[in-house]
Symmetry: C2
Subunit: 349 residues, 2 copies
């Protein structure tokens, strides 16, 4: 078996499928452009829990359990689970995994987590190590604000370049084959196959402003994109859509400029390229530079993209969640922001 | 290909090898029982850096780079890198990976990280996704104390059940085949093969005392052990040594009791079972219940176990790094401590 192509890309010859999926969104996300697409919209961002962290963990658990059900499976059918979030020590994922009782690998990739989880999950299924693997990610505006920025009670002012951490979770069940049965919300029209994954390197251009995350991550997204094209011999127009997440309004423009600098036609790119951080909220929702957080791209993929692929409206997609791997301490030690992005190529029947 | 055996175990039929390895230890670790085994002992735990976090990141980088060299490779030969540490947002791993420029997957498993990294790395190599993959983990007493407990300047008193976070790092290069050339510190006598990996579930018995980590993690270690034995059809005496890490002096006794309760002979187990947290320090080094931290088991494996296997003194080993997946916030929200352990079976020629 020869599965490695080029320098950073894995080919999944067995083409694992997205057998089940679920998106969960908070109140603000439920008022945004995806309000009709998100499977479960919370009426209260505490989700019946006593802390924001526990609410986030419950959102992730709901997404995971629902993805299992929609795959026509039981939790006991799941072999391995990959998950991550923004919280210190992966609090949301750890407590979700405690309740689920599935062999668990915790990942940290900041907002790149969803494609990181999916890449690992597809790797396990394609290799025959597992028949059904869960991959998920979550974030919550209130847990992220108090951990990374200011106590919410402080009413901190946000600069125009800041992004808004989505209160959202997404999960997929990646399987050898799709068992999903019709009925309810299950969309069974077409299989979505995971065909390749490109693991990203860290790119750090020296940006130090933690309120300019899009600018810090855009070069990493473009580096992974260019490596993906080189490894696969494809050009951007091979795909019907290329979705980064979450560069936001500013980072998206930077990514477009960098791709144009690399020789790709900007008007062609404008037709096929978008960013999850610009899709989950509208500008008039007071989110400044757009959405962010592990849950943002996780939710956009599972609420919007994968459903469009199931319905046959999009055939080939390339998704790249993007992460800013700074820590709460590193900026105080003079460090710049390391960016990373992992890509996954998908194809529907 | 049928690689999954039982419920939680992956069989690595291609038997990836540990082609290179390196251990780094701090000053206290260099005065302990492994003083003659650790490859690189720091003379100062700042390691020439301006912060403890940067020192920890440099230790990890040194371990990674040296493991590559000892495998007879260049960094550009490495396809993927898995790494984790205890720091929020994986600060040590992220900045190490920024410098190394290798496709990077960050993992969080608290002190279980070393077997978690190795398991993922072996999975990639065995599947043919990569020829050479790095796996590593690190911890630093000073970074962990200030993040999880008290500022060092506070001179906090530690209860007898508390463990001492090792200032240590370990890395291995896992490859399709061993290219290592003789000479210097390279021990080339025998190949060490990675034969199986067992991914752990979270076990939480309701312990809430963060100064009783060994007790919180021992049930998870035993659960993974029992699942490994069930999945493989083996009993403990199949192995010359079973090494958990890091239950410490208290957790080790609890694990022995739990295994005895499960029907295994305690005197047989006493001959083959040990714990990395009891091996990296002596009791008279004022470490109370023993060592802990991602770097503890990473260092004991790479400094001691794998060298013994290379020399033919140990043939079959089972290693299980153990993690306590509490967060810095979860205890304040009334939560108990989720434990996890991942096992890897090794065989030398």
């Amino acid at each position: 078996m020869k599965s490695k192509i080029g320098n950073q890309t894995i080919e999944f010859e067995k083409r694992p499928v997205i057998a089940g999926m679920c998106s969960v969104g908070g109140t603000k996300e439920g008022e945004g452009p995806l309000k009709d697409d998100i499977d479960i919209v919370l009426s209260d961002n505490m989700y019946g829990e006593k802390s924001w962290e526990k609410a986030e963990s419950k959102m992730l658990k709901t997404a995971m359990e629902t993805a299992v059900k929609r795959a026509g499976l039981e939790v006991s059918d799941i072999d391995i689970m990959f998950s991550g979030d923004l919280l210190n020590q992966l609090m949301s994922s750890a407590f979700m995994a405690r309740d689920m009782q599935v062999p668990f690998i915790g990942l940290y990739g900041a907002c790149s987590t969803m494609t990181q989880s999916m890449l690992m999950a597809a790797s396990m299924v394609n290799a025959g190590y597992a028949a059904n693997v869960l991959a998920g990610a979550s974030s919550h505006f209130c847990t992220a604000e108090r951990q990374f920025r200011m106590p919410l009670e402080h009413g901190n002012q946000r600069p125009p370049s800041a992004q808004w951490t989505a209160t959202a979770a997404g999960a997929v069940c990646i399987s050898e084959k799709s068992l999903a049965v019709a009925g309810g919300n299950v969309i069974t029209e077409r299989n979505i196959y995971i065909t390749e994954g490109t693991i990203g390197k860290i790119i750090d251009t020296g940006m130090k402003d933690a309120n300019q995350m899009g600018a810090a991550m855009a070069p990493a997204a473009v580096d992974t994109l260019l490596n993906h094209f080189e490894d696969t011999g494809r050009s951007p127009d091979y795909y019907d859509i290329i979705l980064t997440g979450d560069l936001g309004f500013i980072g998206k423009e930077i990514a477009l400029d960098l791709l144009a600098d690399a020789g790709y036609d900007k008007s062609m790119l404008s037709n096929i390229y978008d960013d999850c951080g610009t899709m989950i909220f509208t500008k008039d929702q007071d989110v400044h530079a757009g959405g962010s957080g592990c849950g943002c791209s996780a939710c956009v993929y599972t609420a919007w993209l994968f459903k469009k692929m199931k319905r046959g409206e999009i055939k080939r997609a390339l998704i790249l969640s993007t992460g800013a791997l700074l820590s709460t301490i590193s900026p105080f030690q003079g460090e710049s922001i390391p960016g990373i992005a992992h890509a996954i190529a998908l194809e529907s029947e």
